[in-house]
C-alpha cells in the first residue's frame, strides 16, 4: 500500500474518533454546567479548554459560548468537531480509491451537514448525539465493507491511539471537576459505559472504581488499556516480529506505557491522575511520530533542485 494512502487511513481513523470523543466530552460538560449551578462556569470552561489542548488568552472571558465555538462549531479552530470532520473528509478524498463507497459516502454526507449549518442549527445536545450517530455509521460502514488489509490496520491503529488519548482527557476532566456534582457518573455516561460499570462492580460506585474501569478494564472497549492493546495488535499485524525484542519504536512506546499502567498499583496511578493522563497523551503523540517515521516517511517526496536543463 502507498505510504501516502496509509497515512490518510491512519488519520481518518483518528479524526473520526476525535470528533466522536470531543462530542462526548462536550455533551457531559455542557450537561454539568446546566445541572450544577454551584461551580463556576469560568473555571470549568477554562479547565476544559486546557485539557483539550486549546490555547486561549488567559485574560479573556471564557464562557460556554466560547467553548462551544472552539470545540464544536468554528471550522477554523483546529480542535473543533467541525474542523476535525472536515479533515476526516479531506483525508478520505485523498484516499478515495481505497475506501469503500459506503464509507466514503458516510464521511462525505457527514461533512456536508456540517458545512450546510445543520450541525450548528441542531443545538448542543442533539448536535452531539448526531456526531456520535454519524461516527457509529462511518465506523459501521467501514467494518461491514472494508477488507482487513493494511489500510484497515492503519485505520484501526489511528482510531485506537486516538481513543486512548481522548479517554485520558475525559478522565482528566473528571479528575479536575473534583467534588462538584457527580463527574464520574457523567464521565462513564459519556463513554456509554455507565450501565456496564454498574454491572461489573455490582452497583458499588466510587471514584476509584470508576477510574479503574476507564483506565484498566480489559473488556470495556473505550478503556485506555483496551485501546492500547488493540493499537499494539495493529502494529503487530503490520510488521511481523522477530525472535527477540521489538524493532518498532511505536510498539515499544505503547507497550511500555501499557505495562506501566497495568503493573503499577491502582493507588499509585490515581494519586496524580492529571499528571498520569498527560504522560499518556505524550506517549500517544510520540507513538504517532514513530508511526509516521516508520511507515509514512516516503510520502514526503523530494524536490528537484536543478534548474531547467
Amino acid at each position: 500500500m502507498l505510504s501516502r494512502i496509509a497515512e490518510s487511513m491512519f488519520w481518518i481513523g483518528r479524526y473520526v474518533e476525535r470528533a466522536e470523543d470531543t462530542a462526548r466530552i462536550l455533551d457531559v460538560q455542557t450537561q454539568l454546567l446546566l445541572e450544577d449551578t454551584s461551580g463556576s462556569e469560568e473555571t470549568t470552561c477554562r479547565n476544559l479548554l486546557a485539557i483539550m489542548g486549546v490555547e486561549f488568552d488567559p485574560d479573556a472571558r471564557v464562557d460556554t459560548r466560547l467553548v462551544l465555538e472552539q470545540l464544536a462549531y468554528d471550522a477554523n479552530a483546529p480542535a473543533s468537531v467541525a474542523a476535525v470532520l472536515a479533515a476526516a473528509r479531506e483525508s478520505a478524498r485523498r484516499a478515495r480509491e481505497t475506501l469503500s463507497v459506503a464509507m466514503w459516502e458516510a464521511l462525505n454526507t457527514t461533512h456536508r451537514s456540517v458545512v450546510s449549518g445543520q450541525f450548528r442549527a441542531a443545538g448542543p445536545a442533539s448536535g452531539f448525539r448526531w456526531v456520535r450517530d454519524r461516527a457509529a455509521l462511518i465506523n459501521g460502514a467501514a467494518d461491514a465493507t472494508m477488507t482487513r488489509d493494511e489500510g484497515w490496520q492503519f485505520l484501526m491503529l489511528g482510531r485506537c491511539l486516538e481513543r486512548a488519548d481522548m479517554t485520558s482527557r475525559l478522565v482528566a476532566t473528571a479528575a479536575y471537576a473534583g467534588g462538584s456534582g457527580s463527574p464520574w457518573t457523567n464521565t462513564l455516561r459519556a463513554c456509554g459505559g455507565y450501565e456496564a460499570f454498574l454491572r461489573t462492580y455490582k452497583g458499588a460506585e466510587t471514584e476509584r472504581m470508576a477510574a479503574e474501569f476507564l483506565l484498566l478494564d480489559r473488556l470495556f472497549p473505550r478503556s485506555v488499556i483496551f485501546s492500547l492493546n488493540r493499537a499494539e495488535q495493529c502494529l503487530h499485524n503490520l510488521e511481523a516480529g522477530g525472535r527477540a525484542g521489538f524493532q518498532n519504536d511505536a510498539l515499544r512506546l505503547i507497550g511500555r506505557t501499557r505495562a506501566d499502567l497495568e503493573y503499577r498499583s491502582l493507588s499509585d496511578v490515581v494519586a496524580d491522575l492529571p499528571g498520569e493522563m498527560e504522560k499518556l497523551q505524550r506517549t500517544c503523540a510520540l507513538a504517532t511520530d514513530a508511526v509516521t517515521r516508520r511507515f509514512f516517511a516516503g510520502s514526503e517526496g523530494t524536490n528537484w533542485q536543478g534548474g531547467r536543463v
Binding site: M1, L2, S3, R4, I5, A6, E90, R93, R94, R96, E97, V101, W104, E105, N108, T109, R112, E150, L238, F295, G298, S299, E300, G301, T302, N303, W304, G306, G307, R308, V309
Partner: protein
C-alpha cells in the same frame, strides 16, 4: 408533455435541434413521449433536485477556482441512433489510426514532411513538439492510448470534427456516473430503451494499459498518476483508479532509481511498469521540462526512453491535436490510410497562410478565431459577439503571430432541450466520444460526454466555462439484439434459515397465547 414543450422554440432556428424537427418530435425521442406525458413540470423539478443531491452525496464534483461543486448534469438525456453512431465510431477509429501513424512518423523518420503532405515548420513551431520524445518506440506501437475527439453537429445535422484531444482528454468518468444517475432519475424511460452500456470502460482501459507494458513484463503494475486533490479532474482520476483496481499515485509517491520507476509503499519501493498519467507533458519531469514542477517525478522521461516504463498517453502527443495540424488531418488520413475521411472537419482557415489571412482579416466579426494551442475554451473570440476593441486587439495579436491562430465560420452547434431555471429550453451541445487503443483495435465507448452550454445562445461548452453535461444514450439497433430464449429454471426448495426462539415466540402458537390466557383468567384484561 405538450405543456412541457409548449413554448419550446427548438427546431425553428438555423441550428439543428436533435429532438424537434420544425415542431414535430424526431423518432429517436419517441419513447420519451410516454414518460413525459405522465409527468408535470413540478415532478421534473423535484427529480432534478434529487439528482443534484445524489451527486453531492457521492462527491461527484469538480473544482472551479478551488470551490468544489456538484458536476452539472441535465435530466433529459441525449439520444443518438444506431446509424449515426456507427458513422461516428468508424470516423473516430479512422482518425485515431491516422493520428497514431502521424505521431509515429513525426517522432521517427518524418516521411510525411519529405512527401510534402504537411510542412515541417508546422511541427517544428508547435509548442507541444518535444525532442525528448523523438525516436522513443512504444512497446506495442501505441501512443494514443486514450483519445477524445470533439464532435459537433452542424445545421444539417451532420457530425463534424471540431478538435482532437490526444494528450490527456478528461470527462469519461462523468459518462459513467451520469448514466447511473439518470437510470435512477428516469427509470421508466430508461427501461423503454435499449441503451448500449458504458460501464465497461475501465476494464477496456486497463486491458489497453496492460497491453502497453514494457516487453518481458508478464504481470505489469499499472498506476494512475494524478497532479493531486486540487486538480479539477481529481474525481475522475480517483474513479478510474478505483474502478480499474490500481493505485492512484501522485508525483511524490514515485521515485526513479537506475532508470526504473518505483512507488513508495509501506513495504518499501515497488516497481511500476505502466503509468496512465493525467499530468501534462510540461509538468511530468523537471529534468526535461519545467524545472520547478512538483507534480511529476525527476527521471521519468529517461526511464520511459530506456523502455523500463510506459507512459500513457505518450509524451509529445500534443503535436497531433494542435489546431493547425487539425487542418491537415483529412490529408493525413488520405496519406496514411488511403481512405476518405468519414467525418469531415469544420471549415477552417490557417491564418499563417497569407491568402487565407487576406480573405479573413476583414471579416473577423463574422468568424470564430481560435488560438492553435489553447484548450478549455481559452482565448477563443467569437466574432459576432465581440466588441470593436476586442476585435482590434485580436487583429493585432493575429498579425503579430499569425501561425498561432485559425479562423472558422460561426458553426451553430446543434441544440437539445435542457432544463434550466425551471423550464425547458434549447441549449447548444457538443459530443466527446472516448476511444481506447490497445494496439490491435481502437475501441470507441458507445456514449461519450455531451457537454451543454447552459446560458441561452452560448456556444462554448467547456465545464471550466460553466458548461453542463447530459447523459448520452447510444441506442442498440434491433438487428444486433441477441435473441434470448426464455429459459425457465425452477429453484430448488431450500430450508429456511434457523428461526431462533424469538421468531418462534412471535410467529408460532404457544407461550404467548398461554400467557395472555393466564392474564385473562386472573381477571385482568387482555389489553
Amino acid at each position: 408533455m405538450d405543456s412541457m414543450f409548449h413554448h419550446y422554440p427548438g427546431g425553428t432556428g438555423p441550428a439543428y435541434d436533435e429532438m424537434f424537427d420544425a415542431g414535430t418530435m424526431r423518432p429517436a425521442y419517441d419513447q420519451f413521449r410516454s414518460t413525459l406525458d405522465t409527468m408535470t413540470m413540478a415532478d421534473l423539478a423535484s427529480r432534478v433536485e434529487a439528482l443534484q443531491a445524489s451527486y453531492l452525496d457521492q462527491g461527484v464534483t469538480f473544482d472551479i477556482g478551488g470551490e468544489e461543486r456538484a458536476f452539472p448534469l441535465d435530466i433529459l438525456p441525449r439520444v443518438i441512433e444506431q446509424d449515426s453512431w456507427s458513422t461516428i465510431e468508424r470516423g473516430v477509429q479512422q482518425r485515431v489510426r491516422a493520428l497514431e501513424a502521424f505521431l509515429a512518423d513525426v517522432y521517427d523518420a518524418g516521411q510525411v514532411f519529405t512527401d510534402g503532405v504537411i510542412p515541417r515548420r508546422v511541427i517544428a513551431t508547435s509548442s507541444h513538439f518535444h525532442r525528448a520524445a523523438a525516436s522513443v518506440r512504444p512497446p506495442n506501437g501505441v501512443r494514443v492510448h486514450v483519445s477524445g475527439i470533439d464532435l459537433i453537429r452542424d445545421n444539417d445535422g451532420e457530425f463534424r470534427v471540431l478538435e482532437d484531444n490526444v494528450r490527456v482528454p478528461s470527462g469519461v468518468s462523468y459518462v459513467m456516473t451520469n448514466r447511473r444517475a439518470i437510470a435512477s432519475a428516469l427509470p421508466e424511460t430508461f427501461a423503454h430503451h435499449r441503451i448500449r452500456p458504458v460501464a465497461g470502460y475501465p476494464q477496456r482501459l486497463l486491458a489497453a494499459l496492460r497491453a502497453a507494458a514494457p516487453a518481458g513484463v508478464a504481470d505489469p503494475t499499472v498506476v494512475v498518476l494524478t497532479p493531486g486533490v486540487f486538480n479539477g479532474a481529481y474525481f475522475e482520476h480517483a474513479l478510474l483508479a478505483r474502478t480499474m483496481g490500481v493505485e492512484l499515485v501522485e508525483g511524490r509517491d514515485l521515485e526513479c532509481r537506475r532508470g526504473r520507476v518505483m512507488m513508495r509503499t509501506t513495504n518499501g519501493p515497488e516497481p511500476v511498469h505502466v503509468i496512465y498519467r493525467r499530468v501534462d507533458d510540461e509538468f511530468l519531469d523537471p529534468v526535461h521540462f519545467r524545472g520547478d514542477s512538483l507534480l511529476g517525478c525527476p527521471g521519468l522521461i529517461d526511464a520511459a526512453r530506456s523502455g523500463q516504463v510506459v507512459l500513457a498517453n505518450a509524451v509529445g502527443n500534443g503535436v497531433a491535436d494542435d489546431k493547425l495540424v487539425y487542418t491537415y488531418v483529412p490529408d493525413l488520413i488520405r496519406y496514411y490510410l488511403d481512405e476518405e475521411p468519414v467525418l469531415r472537419n469544420v471549415d477552417t482557415w490557417r491564418l499563417g497562410d497569407a491568402d487565407a489571412r487576406e480573405e479573413v482579416m476583414d471579416r473577423l466579426d463574422e468568424l470564430v478565431v481560435k488560438p492553435v494551442d489553447g484548450s478549455g475554451g481559452k482565448g477563443i473570440v467569437i466574432g459576432p459577439a465581440a466588441s470593436r476593441p476586442e476585435l482590434d486587439e485580436l487583429r493585432s495579436k493575429v498579425l503579430a503571430e499569425p501561425r498561432n491562430w485559425i479562423a472558422q465560420p460561426v458553426v451553430q452547434l446543434s441544440t437539445v432541450p435542457t432544463f434550466v431555471d425551471g423550464k425547458l429550453g434549447p441549449r447548444h451541445v457538443d459530443l466527446r466520444p472516448f476511444a481506447v487503443n490497445d494496439g490491435t483495435k481502437v475501441w470507441v465507448l458507445p456514449g461519450g460526454l455531451t457537454r451543454v452550454a447552459l446560458p441561452e445562445g452560448e456556444l462554448i461548452v467547456n465545464s471550466s466555462r460553466g458548461g453542463g453535461s447530459k447523459d448520452t444514450w447510444v441506442l442498440a439497433g434491433p438487428t444486433v439484439a441477441p435473441v434470448r430464449e426464455e429459459v425457465v429454471v425452477h429453484a430448488h426448495q431450500a430450508e429456511p434459515p434457523s428461526s431462533g426462539p424469538a421468531i418462534t415466540d412471535l410467529t408460532g402458537p404457544g407461550e404467548q397465547e398461554q400467557q395472555q390466557q393466564q392474564a385473562r383468567e386472573k381477571g385482568g384484561t387482555a389489553c
